[in-house]
C-alpha cells in the first residue's frame, strides 16, 4: 500500500475512533436524562431530579471532550481526503452541514440552558431543555449515519462526467434504507453504553456502600433500559443490518464470517482464525447451516463465499474485519445475558444484595465501548477497498498534495494531544464520582421563577 494512503487512513481511523468514545455516551446519556427528568416530572419525585443533576455534570465533561474532538473530523475531509471531498462534497457536504445547522445549534443552545438554567426555567422548561438536547444529539447522529451510509450504499446521486458526484434526490439520499437500519443499530448501541455507565457507577457505589439510595436508582434505570436495548441490538436492528449487508455488500459478509467457499447450508463460525493466504478458517467451531438461515431464512440457502468475488474487491484486511465482527457479536450476546440476568434479579428483588452481579455490572463498563468500536471497525474496514462503495476506491480519495511525512507528523500530534485529553477526562470524571450525587442545598424543589 502507498505509504501516504496508509497514514491518511490511520489518521482518520485514529481520530474518529477516539472521538466516538465520547458521543456514544453523550447520546446514550441524553436519552437517559430524558427518562430521569420525565419520571421526576410525572411522579414529582425529587430523587430523579437529583440524579439528573449528577449525570448532567458527567454529561457536560463528556460533551466537552466530544465537541473538541469532533471539530477535527469535519475538517479532515478537506485536509486529508481532498480528492474525495472534491468529488463527493456536494452530497456528503450536505449531510455534514445539516448536522451543524439542524442539530448542533439546537444541542449547544439548550445544553447551556439545561446546565445553567434549571432554576429560571422551572420544572417543565428544564424537562423540555433536556428533551431538546436529546433531540439535537440524536439528530446529529442521524446526519453522520446518513453520510456514512452514502459511502456504504450510495443512493440519490448521479455521477457526472469528470467524476463529480451530484445530489439528485434529497429524500432518497436522506432516507437511504441502509442509513435507517444503521442508525437504529448505532443509536441503540450508544444507549447501551449509557446504560452500562449508569448501572456501573450505581454498582460501584453499592459495592463501596456510598450514596446507596441514588445508587439503587442508577442501577435500576440502567438495567431496565439496558436489558431492553440489548435485545433490540440483536433483533431487529443487528439482523436488519446484516440483511442489508447480504444484499448490497455480499463480499463483506463473506469476509466477516470467514466464509471462503460458497456453501449451501453455510455454517456460522463461533471461533476460528481466518488464514487468508490458504483461504480457510483455522481451528473453527462451526454451527452448521445457521449462517444460511440468518441471512436468507432458509437452512439450505446458498451463501456466496469470497471465492466468488474478484480478489481486488475483497476487503483489504480480512483478519481485522473478522475479529472485529466476532468481538462485536460476542459482546452483544454477553450483554443480553448479563442485563437480562440483572433485570431478572431486580424483578425478584435480589439485585441490590447480589454482590457478584454488582461486580459484573461495574467491571462491564468498558465492554460497550469495545463493542461499539468493533462495530464501526466492521462497518468501515468492511467497506474497503471502496471509499464510496462501487464508485470510488479508497486510494483515489486522499490528499495527494499532503505528503506522508506531514500527515504522520499531525497524526502523532493528535495521538499526544488525545492521550492528554483522555487522562484529563478520566481525572475530572473520577473527581465527580468521588464527590458523588450528594444532595446539594438546592435539593428542595426550586421555586419556578419566570424567565
Amino acid at each position: 500500500m502507498d505509504q501516504a494512503l496508509a497514514v491518511h487512513r490511520l489518521h482518520f481511523a485514529f481520530t474518529v475512533t477516539f472521538h466516538y468514545l465520547f458521543p456514544q455516551l453523550t447520546m446514550g446519556l441524553a436519552l437517559l436524562l430524558v427518562v430521569l427528568k420525565t419520571i421526576a416530572l410525572r411522579n414529582k419525585d425529587e430523587r430523579y431530579n437529583h440524579a439528573a443533576r449528577f449525570w448532567g455534570k458527567i454529561f457536560a465533561i463528556n460533551f466537552a471532550v466530544g465537541v473538541v474532538t469532533g471539530i477535527p473530523m469535519e475538517f479532515q475531509f478537506g485536509t486529508n481526503w481532498s480528492e474525495f471531498s472534491k468529488a463527493s462534497g456536494n452530497v456528503i457536504g450536505q449531510s455534514l452541514a445539516m448536522e451543524g445547522v439542524f442539530s448542533f445549534f439546537l444541542e449547544s443552545s439548550f445544553l447551556g440552558l439545561f446546565l445553567f438554567g434549571e432554576k429560571r426555567l422551572g420544572p417543565v422548561g428544564h424537562w423540555l431543555s433536556a428533551v431538546l438536547v436529546f433531540l439535537g444529539s440524536w439528530l446529529s447522529g442521524f446526519f453522520i449515519i446518513v453520510t456514512d451510509a452514502f459511502m456504504q450504499h450510495p443512493v440519490g446521486h448521479e455521477v457526472l462526467p469528470g467524476g463529480v458526484i451530484a445530489l439528485k434526490s434529497f429524500w432518497e439520499f436522506l432516507l437511504n434504507p441502509w442509513a435507517l437500519w444503521q442508525y437504529w443499530h448505532n443509536m441503540n448501541g450508544a444507549l447501551l453504553t449509557g446504560c452500562f455507565v449508569m448501572a456501573g457507577v450505581g454498582a460501584f457505589y453499592l459495592i463501596t456502600r456510598q450514596h446507596e439510595e441514588q445508587a439503587r436508582l442508577f442501577v435500576r434505570v440502567g438495567v431496565i433500559v439496558g436489558a431492553i436495548a440489548s435485545l433490540i441490538q440483536l433483533f431487529p436492528t443487528g439482523d436488519g443490518q446484516g440483511k442489508m449487508l447480504a444484499k448490497h455488500q455480499p463480499v463483506t459478509l463473506a469476509a466477516m464470517e470467514g466464509l471462503f467457499r460458497t456453501e449451501e447450508g453455510a455454517p456460522i463460525a463461533i471461533i476460528g482464525q481466518p488464514d487468508v493466504e490458504k483461504q480457510r478458517l483455522d481451528n473453527p467451531i462451526l454451527i452448521p447451516r445457521v449462517l444460511s438461515f440468518l441471512t436468507y431464512q432458509r437452512w439450505e440457502a446458498r451463501v456466496q463465499g469470497l471465492e466468488e468475488f474478484p480478489r481486488e474487491d475483497w476487503p483489504d484486511n480480512i483478519e481485522i474485519l473478522y475479529y472485529a465482527y466476532h468481538i462485536m457479536v460476542g459482546l452483544g450476546t454477553f450483554f443480553i445475558a448479563i442485563l437480562c440476568g440483572a433485570a431478572f434479579l431486580l424483578w425478584r428483588r435480589m439485585l441490590y444484595g447480589a454482590r457478584w452481579m454488582l461486580w459484573i455490572l461495574m467491571l462491564s463498563v468498558p465492554f460497550p465501548y469495545i463493542a461499539n468500536t468493533a462495530g464501526w471497525v466492521t462497518a468501515e474496514v468492511g467497506r474497503q477497498p471502496w471509499l464510496i462503495y462501487g464508485i470510488m476506491r479508497t486510494h483515489e480519495g486522499y490528499s495527494t498534495n499532503v505528503s506522508a511525512g506531514n500527515a504522520l507528523f499531525t497524526l502523532i500530534g493528535f495521538m499526544g494531544m488525545y492521550t492528554v485529553l483522555g487522562i484529563l477526562f478520566l481525572f475530572l470524571v473520577r473527581r465527580e464520582l468521588e464527590h458523588g450525587p450528594t444532595p446539594a442545598a438546592s435539593s428542595v424543589p426550586p421555586a419556578p421563577v419566570r424567565a
Binding site: A60, I61, A64, V68, T69, I71, P72, E74, F75, F77, G78, T79, S82, E83, S85, K86, G89, N90, V91, I92, G93, Q94, L96, A97, M98, E99, G100, V101, F104, F105, L106, S108, S109, F110, G112, L113, L115, F116, G117, E118, K119, E158, L160, V164, A166, L167, K168, F170, S399, N401, V402, N406, T410, G413, M417, L421, L428, R431, R450, A451
Partner: protein, 351 residues
C-alpha cells in the same frame, strides 16, 4: 445560484467571526481586564453558556462551504494543511480551558487554564486573520489546481507564498486588535464594577490599534491585490461594505466614550461584518485567487457544486438557518443581563 451561495457562505463566516469573535476577544483581554482568580471566573462565566454555540457557526459555515464549494474546500483545506491542524489543536486546548477551569479551585489549576485560554485565544485570532490574508493575497496554485503552502517564507520573498509573510501577519495583527476590541466591549457590556471599567479602557486601547492597522492593511491590500480596486471601480455600490466598517469603527469610539457599551458592541459587530464583506466583495469573482498566474485562480463558478445540489441545499438550508436563528435569539435573551460576582446559574443575575 453560485453567487448567492458565495454571499451565504460569506455571511456564515461573518456570523462566526462576530459570535466566536467576542469570546476569542474575551480570552485575549482577560489578562488585562481581570486581575484576580474570581474576576477571571466572571470573564469565563460571561461566555460559558454560549461559546460552544458560537463555535457551531464554524462547523455550520464549514459544512456549508463544503457542499456549496467542494473544490474550494478540498483545495484550501489540504493546501493550508499544517496551519489548519494547529488551529484544530488550539481549538481543542481552548475548549478544555473554558470547560475544565472551574472544576478544581486551586492556585495552580486555574491560572494554568487561564494562561492556556489567553494564549490559545490570542494565537487563534492572529491565525484566523493570517488565513484571511492568504485568501486575499492568493496562493500558488499548480497546473492541477492544487497547492501546499509552507508555514512561512523569508521576509520579503515574493517567489513562494507562505502562510505567514509580512502582509498576512499584518492582517493577523489587525484581527488580533479588532477581536480584542470586540471582546473587551462584550465584557464591558456583560459585567459590572472594576472589570467593566478596565474592559472599557482596554477597548479604547484596542480601538487605537485596530484603527491604525485597518488603515495600513487597506492601503497594502489595494496595492497587493489588484482585484480589489478593480472591483470597487467596476461596481461602485460595493463601497457600502467598507463604509459600514468605517461607520462601525467611528461608532465604537463614540458609544464607548459615552459608556453606552451595548451600542458600542453592536458597532463593533458592524465593523467586523463590514471588513469581511469588503474582503469578499474585493476578491469576487474569485474565491481563492492565484498569486502568479491569475488564470489558475479558483472562481466562484469553477469552485461551485453542480446546480441540482445547490438548489436542493437552498431549501433545507433556509429552513434550518431560520430555526437556528430562533434558538440563538432565545439563548441570548435568556442569558441577557450582566454577570455579577458570586451569583448562581452560570453567573447570570438579574430577573
Amino acid at each position: 445560484m453560485e453567487t448567492l451561495w458565495f454571499c451565504l457562505v460569506a455571511l456564515m463566516i461573518a456570523a462566526y467571526v462576530v459570535f466566536d469573535g467576542f469570546d476569542l476577544g474575551a480570552g485575549i483581554v482577560q489578562g488585562w481586564v481581570a486581575r484576580t482568580a474570581e474576576e477571571r471566573r466572571t470573564v469565563i462565566r460571561t461566555i460559558g453558556p454560549v461559546w460552544d454555540g458560537n463555535e457551531v457557526w464554524l462547523i455550520a459555515g464549514g459544512g456549508t462551504l463544503f457542499f456549496a464549494f467542494p473544490t474550494l474546500y478540498a483545495a484550501s483545506f489540504s493546501g493550508f494543511y499544517l496551519p489548519l491542524m494547529m488551529v484544530l489543536w488550539l481549538l481543542i486546548l481552548r475548549g478544555c480551558s473554558i470547560e475544565f477551569r472551574d472544576h478544581i479551585k486551586n492556585d495552580a489549576w486555574r491560572p494554568f487554564w487561564d494562561g492556556v485560554f489567553q494564549i490559545s485565544s490570542s494565537v487563534l485570532a492572529i491565525v484566523f486573520g493570517a488565513a484571511l490574508g492568504n485568501v486575499i493575497r492568493g496562493v500558488a496554485f499548480d497546473e492541477n489546481g492544487r497547492f501546499f503552502s509552507p508555514l512561512w517564507v523569508e521576509l520579503g520573498s515574493v517567489e513562494r507564498a507562505g502562510i505567514l509573510d509580512p502582509y498576512t501577519v499584518t492582517v493577523g495583527l489587525t484581527a488580533f486588535a479588532a477581536l480584542a476590541m470586540h471582546g473587551a466591549l462584550w465584557l464591558a457590556h456583560k459585567t459590572l464594577g472594576p472589570i467593566a471599567e478596565r474592559a472599557r479602557l482596554a477597548a479604547r486601547g484596542a480601538w487605537l490599534g485596530t484603527t491604525a492597522l485597518t488603515v495600513v492593511i487597506t492601503l497594502w491590500t489595494m496595492r497587493l491585490q489588484p482585484l480589489v480596486p478593480g472591483n470597487l471601480a467596476g461596481r461602485p455600490w460595493g463601497a457600502i461594505f467598507p463604509a459600514l466598517a468605517v461607520a462601525g469603527l467611528v461608532a465604537v469610539w463614540f458609544f464607548n466614550a459615552r459608556r453606552n457599551t451595548g451600542k458600542a458592541f453592536l458597532a463593533s459587530c458592524a465593523y467586523l461584518v463590514g471588513m469581511l464583506t469588503s474582503a469578499a466583495f474585493g476578491i469576487y469573482p474569485y474565491v481563492l485567487p492565484s498569486i502568479h498566474d491569475p488564470a489558475r485562480g479558483l472562481t466562484v463558478a469553477a469552485a461551485a457544486a453542480p446546480e441540482s445540489g445547490l438548489r436542493i441545499g437552498l431549501v433545507w438550508w433556509s429552513i434550518g438557518m431560520t430555526l437556528a436563528t430562533c434558538y440563538v435569539i432565545f439563548v441570548y435573551r435568556h442569558f441577557a443581563g450582566r454577570v455579577t460576582a458570586g451569583s448562581e446559574e452560570g453567573g447570570y443575575g438579574g430577573a
